[in-house]
Structures are given as C-alpha cells and as structure tokens.
Symmetry: C2
C-alpha cells in the first residue's frame, strides 16, 4: 500500500482519486483555497458537487490550511491537480514544506513561456522549487484521453505516465493500473507534455466548423461539418509534431495517447471545443468570454495567451517557420488579438 | 478544361462530380448496373436520390450500357467510384475498352488479399488490367476526410492524391482543387491506401464504446464513453502504422489526411462506426447484418473478411507479431468468427 497526496480538488484532481484508491492505496485529497466548498462536501457526504460521484473509501479530504498536516503524514507520490494558472501557487505551497525527494506527478496541462523560450510545466515546477533549495526532484506527468467525469465513472481508458527518469514511469504505471485505468510508461516527458498542452489549444480550431454549421441554413441533404473538423484535426497533429520536435521531444508521442488520443477526446467534449464552437459561430473571443464561457477556465485559450507572443518572436527571429504553423497563427490571432477565427484552408497541409 | 469520367454513381462517385465540375471541367458520370435508378433520376431531375442534392452543370449521366460511348468521347482522367466488391466488375468493363494510357484515380477503398499476401487496390486493378494487355497504366488514389454528403454540400475539406508516379499527384491536385476542396499531392500510394482501407476496419472498434454505453444504466454523473473511444482511436493509429510499414508504405501518412484525418471522420459518422456501435451493444456481427445493417455495405467488415484469414497466416508464419495487432485480432474475431467484440484492454499500447 502506498500513500498518495493529490493537491487540487477540482474535477480532475478529485477524479484522479479513483485509480489509486481502486488499486488499494491511501489517497489524501487536498483542496486549494478555491476548493473549500468542494472539500467540505466531500467530507460531509463523500460526494464532490462538480464531479457528482461518491468518492471511494480510502480517500480522505483536507482543506488548503491542512496541507502541511496532510504532507506530514508521509506520502510516496505527490500529484499536482491544480489548473495551469495555479501552478505558481502550488510551488509556493510545496516549496517551504517539501522534504525528501517524493516524486511529483502533474495532471495540470499547459506550457510556461518567457521571452522567446517555451518550457514544459514539469520543468517550470522544478525551476520554481529549486528556489527553495529543492534540487534533483523528479517531476513527471500523466496524459492521455481522460475526461474527469468518465474516469470517476470507471470508464476504460489508457494513459501514459512520463518522466525523464527511467525508473519512475514503470513504478507509477504499476502503482496506478486498475481493471479500467490502463497506464503505460514513457520517457518522452517533453513530447507527452507538449502534446497534452497543445491539444486544448488546437481543440479550439477543431470545434469551429460545428459552430459555423449552426450559423448556416441546413444543407438540402442535412450535411454536417465532420470533413472540415477532421482536416483541422490532422493539421493540429502535424503542427503538434513540429512543436514537439522544436522543443526536443519525440514525434512518436504525437501519434500516441497524449497526442492523437487526448486531442480526439478533447474534440468530442469539453470547454475547449465548446469555445471553438462559439468562435466558429462568428463570435470574437472577448464576446465568448463575456457570455457563454464567463467564469470558466478555458485552458486552450489561456495557453494561446501564453504562447502567442512567444510564437510571434520565434517567427520574426526565423527560429520557427510560420508556414509550418498556419493553424496556430489563426488561433493565436483569434485569442490574443480578438480577431475572428478564420481557417486558412489554402495554407494547411502545404509543408 | 479537362474531361473526367467517373465510373460508379453511388453516393461517393456522384459527390465526386462536384470538385471537377466546380473547377470548370466536363464530368461524365457512368452508373454501374446497380445504379440504373439513380442515373435515371439524375437525368430527369438533376438530383441523385441517395445524395439528395442537385448535381452541377457540366455533369452528364450515362447508364452502364453507355459506358463504351462515354469512354469514346475521350477523357483525360478516369475515376473509379465503385465499392470494393465492384472492383473486379470495373476491371472487366475497362479491360476490353480502355485505349491509351489515361490515368485511373480510385475512390474505392479496400485491400486485396490472396494466401499470405495483401495488396493495395490500385495494384490489384493494374494486375487485373494487365490481363487485357494494358501495361504501364498509372493507377492512383484519393483519400482523406470526405463524407460524400458533405462533399456534395460544399463543406471544406483537405484530401491527398497519391500515385507512385511523381508527375501525376501535382497535376491532379491542381486539376481538382476548388475554393472548398483542397487537394495535396503525395507519392506514398501504399501508405495512403493502407490507411484509407483500414480506417473503416478500425472504426468498427472505435464505435464500440458508445454501443456499450447504450446498454448500461446511465452513470450518476452522466459520464459518456469518449475516453475509451479515444484510447481505441490511438491504438488504431498505432496498428495502422505497423500495417503501413509491413506493406512498404511511409508511416508519415498515418498521421496525415488519409490516416488520422479519415479515421477521425469515419468515427464521427457512417456505416462502419454504426456497425461498431451495434457490436459494442452486445450483438454478434451476424445479428447486426440480419437486423440494423441489412442490405448495407459495411466496408470495414468486408475488409475484415478479406484480411482476417491472411492475418492468421501471417501471425502463424511469424511474419507479423500478433502482440502488435491486438485490436485487429479482436475485430477479425468478431467479424470472421462471429464472436463478441471484446476490447483486449491489457494488450493495447503494450508495444
């Protein structure tokens, strides 16, 4: 039996209690300061109000001011389940309290950017913790098709756990695999993380044709918009592969669970593709934020705001070829400049 | 202006009239002996009853007994739009009449198999025509996300045209590209064709979780089955890549329009994923054929019947590793042996 601490009690962090609890481990779920209401509900009823399921036995819930206490109980794995905006906060919580070399596993997806450099989140966390004198800590990630509500409902899925360290992926895959949650090891942390972050970003574009469809009179034969969505899906994979190569990852991950797999599921449901739908229907991003997606975190749009300015610099420095990223350009123009999302069809699949 | 003859007036053959007609070319649509009713309707009303749209000007319709006449008018490109079972028939029609070296472009998707050899359909057509003394004929294919009804309704899509001959893809891409139909050239005829055929086959598996969902009581949180579908989608891509390598194609095509793109669209709609839905709901293939899919051609199941016995031989000869194709094995067992379609989760993503 292993003790696992999960920091972040949103839908994903909470749903992630299931695999380790089902595998017989002890799970300590610690809410952030924003999760107080959910933690209280879990304590009182066992039910997480957003996830709408009863958590398994073997899960105990802690509020953010009990983080030190939960950490002090001793844990062999710390899981970060905050959203991407919460990563600096999580580092501030962990930095003063972390002792030893308990590995960190990130559920959070995103990229960190500064001037003309893009960094995967596990590296950003490592850099952040180094400021507290914490060195040589293994920070990895788990990725793949995994909608939180489905994970909590015990739907089968296969995911990939990635660390730069060869030993950890096998151990964690073994630790977390259950009859429905199938975990495969990978050492391509960069490739897996770049894919996992960009799938949210590109889902904005793949969702767009269905929004366009809703604006038009139905075709005589009731034709849908699956063809354009699929062509955009493919362009997304191509551009993801170029980002992965640029950042030093392995293109094979793009065809795998963290790439094509997670992009597939993200295009079927969720806030990113729904935002894409509204962009496709003709709304500007500012209008979508103000109406349909008010008070929602749209990770793909957050990521566009982070990487948009860096991409512009990398294009102008000649370090990336804009012809290889026409869809990324269309998305960042829509999000960062609040322009209409226009699909540059003639530029797609040209290189 | 170029003259293009399309043989096969089903939904796809007929929808394919649009790009060349929109680009200003003359299109001669020739029905097979099974399409007589549709050809008559096109002649009388301009409307194809199955496609439910009016065909553009510049399209003339011919019945199968006028094939010689249509061929005699002179054509610079012959398009084969029959279904995979109709390929031998098409070769019999073309063999005695074909003169010169008019290239053939195949819309038909499938694979030809004999003993322990699998052949792409363009090679099967070339072999078939060689028996009529027709040699050195260029036979290529067009593939990518392209539901017929959407093509006919002018939805954007991007597709790939592939020939082993370097000159033809560029020429045909130029010939067929319109403001909504974006054609990209490829020389990987084997990779493109293997993907285009297998997408129907693997869509049977990706469609299966939604059928399973329909059989269960709804989850407390109304969770869907997108996670398992996405994990299967990814396994399909991995196995497609292995088939492509085995048959001498380029794995890059798997991440492209003919691979991931066409698999994506095939999993969103159509007879193959619908058949997968029924298999997932617990029916045997014989039951699906007898009820929901009576009188329908399910190309993915037809392909399973073709390649199933060959795969068994290749596995037993040690020429293919069954561990690399667990999903193909589950599908062929379901179709060829009429067993329940069981997803072998623990065997997926292991190699």
């Amino acid at each position: 039996m292993t003790n696992i601490l999960i920091l972040g009690a949103g839908a994903m962090g909470t749903a992630f209690c299931f695999p380790p609890a089902d595998a017989g481990h002890t799970v300590r779920l610690v809410g952030t300061h924003l999760d107080a209401e959910w933690i209280e509900s879990v304590r009182k009823t066992g039910i997480h109000p957003k996830l709408k399921v009863k958590l398994p036995n073997g899960v105990s819930a802690f509020s953010h001011d009990q983080f030190g206490e939960a950490l002090g109980l001793g844990n062999e794995l710390i899981v970060l389940g905050v959203n991407s905006a919460g990563v600096p906060w999580a580092v501030e919580q962990l930095g003063p309290l972390l002792k030893g070399t308990t590995p960190i596993l990130m559920l959070t997806k995103g990229l960190h950017a500064q001037r003309d450099a893009i960094q995967i989140l596990p590296d950003a966390v490592r850099s952040g913790l180094a400021k507290y004198g914490i060195e040589k800590l293994a920070v990895g990630a788990i990725a793949g098709p995994c909608i939180a509500a489905e994970l909590a409902a015990g739907r089968d899925t296969t995911v990939v756990v990635a660390y730069a360290d060869a030993r950890l992926p096998e151990w964690i895959a073994h630790l977390l695999t259950t009859s429905h949650y199938h975990v495969r090891p990978s050492m391509d942390l960069v490739g897996v993380e770049v894919c996992a972050a960009l799938k949210n970003f590109y889902a904005l574009a793949v969702g767009c044709p269905s929004g366009l469809l809703a604006q038009q009179d139905p075709a005589a034969n009731r034709a849908q918009m699956h063809n354009p969505a699929a062509a955009l899906f493919t362009q997304a994979l191509l551009e993801m592969a170029r980002f992965v190569s640029f950042l030093g990852g392995d293109q094979k991950s793009v065809m795998g669970l963290a790439g094509a797999g997670d992009l597939y599921v993200t295009c079927q449901a969720g806030r990113n593709s729904r935002t894409g739908y509204f962009l496709g229907s003709g709304l500007r991003y500012s209008e979508v934020r103000a109406t349909h997606m008010a008070n929602e975190t749209v990770e793909g749009a957050e990521l566009a705001l982070v990487i948009g300015p860096v991409l512009e610099r990398l294009f102008s420095l000649g370090r990336l070829d804009p012809k290889a990223f026409p869809l990324a350009k269309a998305i960042t123009d829509a999000i960062c400049r609040d322009l209409s999302l226009r699909i540059p069809w003639t530029a797609l699949h040209q290189v």
